[in-house]
Amino acid sequence: MTRTEITEKLKDVFQMAAGKTYDESKYDESSNLTTDLGLNSVGILYCVIAIEEFFGIRFEDVGFGDFKTVGDTIDYIEKKLAE
């Protein structure tokens, strides 16, 4: 899966996780998940599960702190997909 494909797929994940508070105009690799996209902690947990389902990967634990931006999340998914 290319980085562009991951980026596009992730947009849907974040949209679902942020719900009505989602602001698509802020979506790019530098966007901060909380301060730009409006995700709260429950939303991030929801994302973790959605990413697992969308990308067929498994997080060792549902810890937050590994990714703060959309770019970090893509890096993480790319790394997991390559394993």
Binding site: T35, D36, L37, G38, N40, V42, L45, I49, V62, G63
Partner: protein, 331 residues
């Protein structure tokens, strides 16, 4: 300085026990004591505004009690006795008594030692300072975003740099609620306080501990003299199933045994407790399914704010001392 039952000489600080407290004065010689108000026994009790620096004989000063004299040590700094006596006389008739800030002990210390202090008030103050404070405030988030500045300025910039309008408002009003909470609980004025960010990017002040949480429509702030974490949630009903992933194995077992009707409350309680615990830990990563809440002292309750019933948890040393101030109106 120590207290002894010895005869005083002019310029000495004297005291007498009346009930649980001591009444203080300055012996100025010739059987005379100058004091800020007579001993506060019932028949002489006056309003603070009526109390004045007065003179009496030793017998009146004592009210039947036993005289104690302050015996100075070499290291104690005191005024020359004649200076003390002269100062006491110039202050006769002076008013402005305050049990907290300007009482008979403050007067005696100032005249004899040159320093205004009250060991009795310090004792009371320290007693209260050691009492656990666990105050939590909640407020609905107003629709508008005023441009009134937040203090410190770096926090203001940080909040206004938020790209997401909703999050910006949440952060803005959370800091406003913090300002309110610090004043109401401790009497601290935020502009007079020092704030800095720690290595994890979390705001701190040397004056006390605080923690902040926000949902889409409400903010919560906890303040304490001990490390404290707070979390408020309850609006993401659609995502509640995801919270099962945040449970430890033991909690998941407990959850599976619950009636259907009790499960949502359980998940919100565990989630908010875990987040509040995480906020008290100096760790870079929040792994909710690795936090056993039973290993920490937390308290969870339902609170009504912004017209919604939300779940609120605090993690701190004495959560049972929690005082809630709900639905504060922010402007």
């Amino acid at each position: 300085m120590k207290w002894a039952k010895v005869a005083p000489v002019a310029g000495d600080m004297v005291r007498v026990q009346t009930g649980n407290i001591h009444h203080y004065g300055v012996y100025v010689g010739e059987d005379e004591v100058i004091q800020f108000g007579l001993a506060p026994i019932a028949r002489q009790s006056l309003k603070e505004s009526e109390i004045e620096v007065c003179s009496s004989d030793v017998k009146t000063f004592l009210c039947g009690g036993e005289l104690e004299t302050a015996v100075m040590e070499d290291t104690d700094k005191r005024r020359a006795p004649e200076e003390t006596v002269a100062l006491c006389r110039t202050r006769l008739g002076e008013k402005g008594y305050s049990i907290f800030y300007n009482n008979c002990e403050h007067f005696a210390y100032e005249c004899v030692m040159g320093e205004k202090k009250s060991t009795q008030m310090d004792f009371v103050r320290n007693f209260f300072r050691q009492m656990p404070i666990v105050d939590v405030y909640t407020a609905a988030i107003p629709e508008d975003l005023p441009d009134a500045p937040l203090y410190p300025e770096t926090r203001h910039q940080e909040v206004f740099q938020c790209g997401h309008g909703g999050v910006k408002r949440q952060k803005y009003y959370a800091w406003r609620l913090l300002e309110y909470a610090l004043d109401r609980t401790f009497g601290y004025k935020i502009k007079e306080m020092q704030f800095s960010k720690n290595a994890r990017g979390k705001w701190e002040t040397p004056s006390c501990f605080f923690s902040i949480s926000h949902t889409d429509s409400a903010v919560a702030v906890a303040v304490s003299r001990k490390v404290i974490g707070v979390d408020i949630e309850g609006e993401d009903e659609g995502k509640i199933a995801a919270l099962q992933r945040a449970l430890t194995a033991e909690e998941a077992k407990e959850y599976s045994l619950l009636d259907e009707g009790a499960r949502a409350d359980y998940l919100w309680a565990k989630w908010t407790a875990k987040e509040s615990v995480f906020k008290t830990l100096d760790e870079p990563r929040f792994s909710p399914n690795k936090i056993e809440t039973k290993d920490y002292t937390t308290l969870t309750k339902k609170v009504e704010t912004a017209g919604k019933i939300l779940t609120l948890s605090v993690a701190t040393e004495n959560p049972e001392k929690l005082r809630c101030f709900l639905d504060i109106k922010l402007v």
